[in-house]
């Protein structure tokens, strides 16, 4: 089996073991979060040896050519010497400019980076608490309209980042962030195409960015945003989305509550995916965006595809919880 060399020491890999598995098993501190090749927190660089293609999936071409790879998805095919990326290359400093409570569980955090970073609404950045703790957050803001990068952060009971983000950081706190990544964003073109957006919880953050981005590009087709929450408190952009629907005739907002009695005629009772699919039996020709709970996203990808949406028209971002 191939060997990996890290900080001057060789480590043996067993079959099917990822680079991340090997390093963590040897008590080495390597940042990681989703451990399924999505969040890019465990980004490393190969000094020698070629990372397999599967370990570079989703990375920017510039990173691929420099032999960056994701440790969690890297089953080495040959001996590799690897290193953690030089933080100064890939991480940037940002200042917390604004914090706003959106609901009992969700706060909006606005960040301004030293050097403006290029991003599309709906992409995500990694926010570092310290050298080894980082989490991915989607961008709800528009780079050409909003001064800051806006994240929606939900309280995760007992979460390592949550306490810090909700209680310790304040305006003026300096943080480190990664470049923006991810493929779930609005691509201008095909302006008449109807769009269906379905999200649960803070899956609304990317969808809010995507909807506003499409509208600001002058998208003509209908845009329907379904937001699902357990309770009324979780519909944390209710007012802003209603205002957006008033402003744009082709934008409609469908709030859904799954776990609490509903006495508002504007809110539908039930699971957001069921409700969205009941109203959209035929999705042939639609563009679809799905964000939030991984089980919902997985089920929704299949249902919208079987409902007629083309594979290339389905964009999704599953919010995979950090693995302990």
């Amino acid at each position: 089996m191939p060997k990996i060399r890290y900080q001057g020491t060789h480590y043996d890999c067993t079959e099917h073991q990822s680079v991340l598995d090997v390093l963590l098993a040897n008590q080495l501190a390597i940042p990681s979060s989703c451990r399924s090749g999505q969040c890019q927190t465990c980004l490393m660089q190969a000094i020698s040896g070629k990372p397999p293609a599967a370990a570079q999936q989703g990375l920017k071409d510039t990173l691929k050519t420099q032999n960056y790879f994701l440790a969690c998805s890297c089953i080495p095919q040959e001996d590799m010497e690897i290193t953690l990326p030089d933080a100064s290359d890939l991480r940037m400093k940002a200042i917390v400019k604004h914090i706003e409570k959106l609901s009992n569980e969700v706060v909006s955090i606005c960040l301004q980076s030293d050097v403006p970073i290029a991003y599309r609404p709906g992409q995500f950045i990694n926010l570092f608490r310290d050298e080894n703790t980082a989490r991915s957050y989607s961008l709800a803001s528009l780079p050409d309209q909003d001064d800051c990068m806006q994240l929606h952060v939900r309280k995760v009971p007992g979460g390592r980042m949550t306490g810090w983000l909700h209680e310790e950081i304040a305006c003026g706190t300096q943080v480190e962030i990664s470049q923006a990544a991810g493929t779930c964003f609005y691509a201008p073109g095909n302006m008449e195409q109807p769009m269906l957006l379905i999200g649960t919880g803070t899956g609304l953050a990317p969808l809010y960015g995507i909807a506003r981005d499409a509208l600001s590009h002058g998208h003509k087709g209908e845009i329907r945003l379904f937001h699902g929450s357990m309770n009324r408190d979780g519909l944390y952009l209710h007012g802003a989305l209603q205002a957006l629907a008033t402003e744009f005739a082709n934008f409609r907002y469908f709030p859904c509550i799954s776990n609490e009695a509903v006495n508002d005629p504007l809110i539908t009772s039930g699971h957001v995916l069921d409700i969205a699919m009941q109203q959209h039996g035929n999705l042939s020709g639609w563009r679809v965006y799905l964000c939030g709970n991984p089980d919902m996203v997985k089920a929704a990808r299949k249902k919208t595809f079987l409902g007629g949406a083309a594979m290339n028209d389905i964009y999704s971002d599953a919010f995979i919880p950090a693995q302990a």
């Binding site: 299949k302 595809f305 079987l306 083309a310 594979m311």
Partner: protein, 122 residues
């Protein structure tokens, strides 16, 4: 590779037109959907595209060993002749939906048939 068949079917454009229809059919077919119900739908779709290219007589690098290796884990899960037949049936239905003539559909089915023993590990 059967350039003539691939050309008559419409080449890569035909594969692109067929892949979503075909994948939707196999995912909805209770006899075989479990073999296609991958977490990663995009990589599944890429596999279907490679399969269709091969079945249409297009350029491919498949050989018998690849077919065996690639399907061994499915054979362990019970993949058998009835599933193979169902896949070919769905492919024929896909082509019919795209208004491909019966004689060309038979050619595609015959091309699939040449892979049966390798796919099923016989």
């Amino acid at each position: 590779m059967n350039q003539n068949l691939y050309h008559k079917l419409g080449g890569e454009a035909a594969v692109n037109a067929a892949v979503d229809i075909f994948y939707r059919k196999v995912l909805s077919d209770d006899r075989i959907s479990e073999f296609f119900d991958d977490v990663d739908m995009e990589s599944q779709a890429a596999k279907q595209k490679a399969f269709l290219t091969m079945a249409f007589g297009g350029p491919n690098n498949y050989n018998g060993m690849d077919m065996r290796r690639g399907h061994a884990h499915l054979v362990k899960r019970g993949l058998n002749d009835s599933h193979f037949d169902a896949v070919v049936e769905n492919l024929a239905a896909t082509l019919k939906e795209l208004n491909v003539g019966g004689d060309l559909i038979s050619e595609v089915a015959a091309l699939c048939e040449t892979t049966r023993n390798d796919v099923l590990g016989k």
